[in-house]
């Protein structure tokens, strides 16, 4: 059993009031609640404000490159699928630089949980538009406002038949913890997009802006219905759904690879004797 203190990390360098604090706390509490110990979980992150998260707790950590979270996480799971792996990323990190990896991690259905701190802005690099920035938002590098349609990560994930698709909000930590728990316990790839106010650079999507719009998805929604899920995923603007949008029961990548059926690769002993026979094939 672990405690909240076990997960104590170095002091966060985030801005006071940043939505990341609530996410960090929710994550620690979720892990404690699940009885997971720090050495029994690995967090992979990239570069950005969100990506600093694993330093602010204590657990196995691979803080890699901007955008490359998911391939690292995939390699880990294939080497050791007994280790739960959470990928923590920013919206730029994951939907911008790392967009391609998202598509293919979802397709693989590798059993990784992706938590995206979606603040709709590039935080660490000081406020440029991210893929989820709303149209028209002016920044120093978008002098005419962001001209692209914002990426809808949930609709994208549903289109890719992602095995679990959900949205949380840093201002609703009860739901957030539930969703984190769901994701971690889910068998398969999970995308949890978390609305995270960036108090310094995002002056549009503030705590208030989000609070006025988010609502929890009710029981009437059937997350197994893909077209319904798509319709729900498209909702944005006046009302923003939070909760589980979509789910399915696809087999995971790890389950499908016969090589690792019995034991993870890391537990497979090696000696030259076992492979020596291969020389014969060259004669």
């Amino acid at each position: 059993m672990s405690t909240f203190q076990d997960y104590e990390g170095i002091t966060p360098a985030w801005c006071p009031g940043c939505g990341n604090f609530a996410i960090l706390k929710a994550l620690k509490e979720t892990l404690v609640g699940l009885g997971i110990e720090p050495h029994g979980i690995t967090i992979v992150s990239g570069i950005g404000q969100a990506a600093k998260l694993p330093h602010y707790m204590r657990c196995n950590t691979f803080n890699g490159l901007h955008g490359r979270t998911l391939p690292v996480a995939t390699g880990m799971r294939l080497a050791n699928h007994t280790m739960p792996v959470i990928a923590v990323a920013g919206d730029g990190d994951c939907y911008g630089e790392g967009g391609n990896h998202l598509l293919h991690a979802v397709r693989r259905n590798v059993n990784v949980k992706l938590f995206v701190h979606d603040n709709q802005v590039y935080g660490l690099t000081k406020g440029q538009a991210s893929p989820t920035t709303m149209e028209g938002v002016v920044t120093k590098t978008q002098p005419f406002g962001s001209l692209s349609e914002p990426l809808n990560p949930l609709a994208l994930a549903v289109a890719l038949d992602c095995s679990l698709v959900a949205r949380g909000f840093a201002g609703d930590t009860d739901l957030l913890k539930e969703l984190m728990k769901e994701a971690i316990e889910h068998r398969g790839f999970a995308l949890l997009d978390i609305l995270q106010p960036c108090v310094t650079f995002n002056k549009v999507n503030t705590y208030r802006w989000y609070s006025e719009r988010v609502y929890r998805i009710g029981d009437d929604h059937d997350p197994f219905d893909r077209t319904e899920a798509f319709r729900r995923a498209l909702e944005w603007g006046e009302r923003i759904p939070t909760g589980i949008i979509y789910r399915n029961t696809r087999p995971t990548l790890e389950e499908r690879i016969p090589v690792i059926k019995d034991a993870p690769l890391i537990d497979r002993p090696f000696s030259v004797d076992r492979v020596e026979g291969e020389l014969q094939g060259f004669y």
Partner: protein, 575 residues
């Protein structure tokens, strides 16, 4: 005895099958064999060839003159006729190439008709051709029959039988029509030999070094490594993952390595270019990584199926920031095998990226080997797991130690957490910004490790005269052609080859004063399959030594013995 057989035709006509089977017959017959391939970047049509040289002495490069040309189309005859040595033979199927040739060197063997008679289809015409070549050489069919049995076992006895019949019919036909053939194939002594190309050698080396994870994105000419490992995945417990791109490939390999297994990736120049950021990540996080770069001519897409040694300096300096790395450049499949093992060992021992620099020529060339000695392999597990970990009171992934090497724990195998970071970090792996920690970490990762690694690097190989007047120097895949050149010229000259297969850290002169050898020679020539002489430049930067002359080839083709000899003679004659 030293014969060369060239099989030419369109992509898709089965040149590789004919060539592959013939080469195997020769190697099993205890001949030394060297094969190489010349193919276009297309799937059907065009013009490709597959060349086999076999001999009762060691062979290690292609020759320009052909003894037997197997022409599967008219084009082949046009292109290669001129390369036939006097007394050589061109075999072809007049009916299928659509023309009859009268010159005495032509032998018309109706492959397709014979195959049809033997109850086979068009594909079996290739078996007829193989049988016919063996017939012309006066070799018997026993070994070929064995190979047919193995290959078609799964397809059942009927298919096997028809192939057997086709082979026999081709053999008989050749014996009949080619009594003028003057090939004499003695029965050589030692053998049988292994027959292996460079890509398979790297794959086999990885397999025998306990590689458990290979992630890559297909790219000619490196794909063979992935295919080799994938074909052994089930039996030996390897996960081979085709990534969505090369960036993913290297990052997956790093994830797997961090998690606790030996991991590798591979690509060719353009794909490797996409891995450059990841290489720097491997170094910063001290995650062991082996990466093969199988070169092809650039820039950009270049000539995708041809050969060049033009990525040496790129690979040597790839990645932002400064860090330790190792670059190995095997010259033969045998070296590729052992150096791949060395790559895994060094990568894990020093927690660094190690690069294996190969090229299309080496990748696709088959050599005979008298055997591989698994006793020479170094397979130490440098990671902390189980018992070793339990005893630890505390654990810091990037602990500052005397030699700069920190204990590397497998995450999840103890109560300790394993933390690493692409930012500059402290011993625990957490990001820092202060000057002092930064310097300590740079000293650890780079300045301490590099001299130690250098001690592991073996000096270049000197072959030929040990007090040479003429020294030809090269690296990687030019090994074979340079070696034969030395053999060829050593009657008339005190000549030697200096071959570098362990390139970086650059070998010291302590064990072997190779600079002394160069300096006391009257002529030193650097031979490179590139335009700018990259190794020569490296040599200059590392040692200040400049070669007297340079021979470079950059048309996408490998050196041939005759071509290289011709160029060298020009320099030698001026001595």
């Amino acid at each position: 005895m030293d014969y060369t057989i060239r099989i030419g035709g369109e992509a898709g006509q089965g040149l590789q099958t004919i060539g592959g089977v013939l080469a195997r017959v020769f190697s099993r017959s205890s001949f030394h064999v060297f094969t190489h391939q010349d193919y276009m970047s297309r799937i059907r049509g065009g013009h490709n060839f597959y060349q086999i040289r076999f001999s009762d002495r060691e062979v290690s490069c292609p020759r320009e003159h052909i003894d037997i040309l197997v022409a599967l189309d008219l084009n082949t005859i046009d292109i290669h006729r001129g390369a036939l040595r006097e007394g050589g033979v061109i075999i072809y199927d007049a009916a299928s190439v659509g023309r009859v040739f009268d010159s005495p060197e032509f032998v018309d063997i109706p492959f397709e008709a014979i195959a049809a008679d033997a109850g086979g289809d068009r594909i079996m015409a290739n078996t007829v051709a193989v049988g016919a070549v063996l017939g012309m050489l006066g070799m018997d069919l026993g070994i070929l029959e064995g190979i047919i049995m193995e290959r078609f076992k799964k397809k059942g006895s009927e298919v096997t039988g028809r192939n057997m019949a086709s082979a026999r019919a081709g053999h008989e036909y050749a014996l009949k029509v080619c009594d003028a053939c003057d090939f004499s194939v003695p029965r050589p002594g030692k053998g049988p030999f292994m027959l292996m190309n460079g890509n398979d050698a790297v794959g086999l080396g990885a397999l025998m070094s306990g590689c458990r994870f290979y992630a890559a994105y297909p790219m000619t000419p490196s794909t063979g490594i992935m295919i080799f490992l994938a074909s052994r995945a089930a039996e030996h417990g390897i996960v081979v993952e085709q990534a969505e791109d090369e960036i993913a490939a290297i990052n997956m390999a790093l994830g797997a390595s961090f998690a606790g297994v030996r991991a590798m990736t591979g690509s060719s120049g353009g794909g490797f270019a996409l891995m450059v950021e990841g290489l720097s990540l491997a170094a910063m996080t001290e995650t062991p990584l082996v990466a093969a770069e199988v070169q092809r001519p650039g820039p950009a897409t270049g000539l995708p199926t041809r050969t060049e040694q033009s990525d040496l300096l790129f690979v040597l300096h790839a990645g932002h920031g400064e860090f330790a790395r190792v670059v190995l450049a095997p010259g033969t499949p045998e070296q590729a095998f052992y150096l791949t093992n060395k790559a895994f060992d060094l990568a894990e021992k020093y927690q660094i990226p190690v690069l294996i620099l190969s090229d299309q020529y080496l990748a696709d060339s088959e050599w005979t080997l008298s055997g591989l000695d698994t006793g020479r392999l170094r397979n130490h597990d440098y990671r902390l797991r189980g018992g070793a970990l339990e005893g630890l009171a505390g654990y810091r992934r990037h602990l500052l130690t005397g030699d700069g090497i920190s204990p590397m724990a497998v995450p999840g195998k103890s109560v300790h957490v394993v933390v690493t970071d692409s930012d500059e970090h402290d011993e625990e792996g957490h990001m820092i910004e202060d000057s002092e920690t930064r310097m300590k970490m740079m000293q650890k990762r780079l300045l301490k490790k590099l001299p130690m690694i250098r001690l592991e690097i073996r000096p270049p190989l000197l072959y030929g005269s040990d007090r040479p007047e003429v020294v030809i120097t090269g690296w990687g895949s030019t090994y074979g052609v340079m070696k034969e050149l030395v053999d060829m010229l050593s009657r008339d000259h005190a000549i030697a080859m200096l071959h570098f297969s362990e390139i970086y850290p650059f070998p010291s002169t302590e064990g072997f004063d190779y600079l002394g050898v160069l300096e006391s020679a009257r002529l030193t020539v650097c031979v490179e399959n590139n335009a700018t002489g990259q190794f020569a430049r490296l040599m200059k930067a590392e040692t200040g030594y400049g070669f007297d002359a340079h021979i470079n080839r950059y048309d996408g083709r490998p050196f041939t013995l005759e071509g290289l000899a011709g160029e060298l003679r020009e320099y030698v004659s001026r001595l």
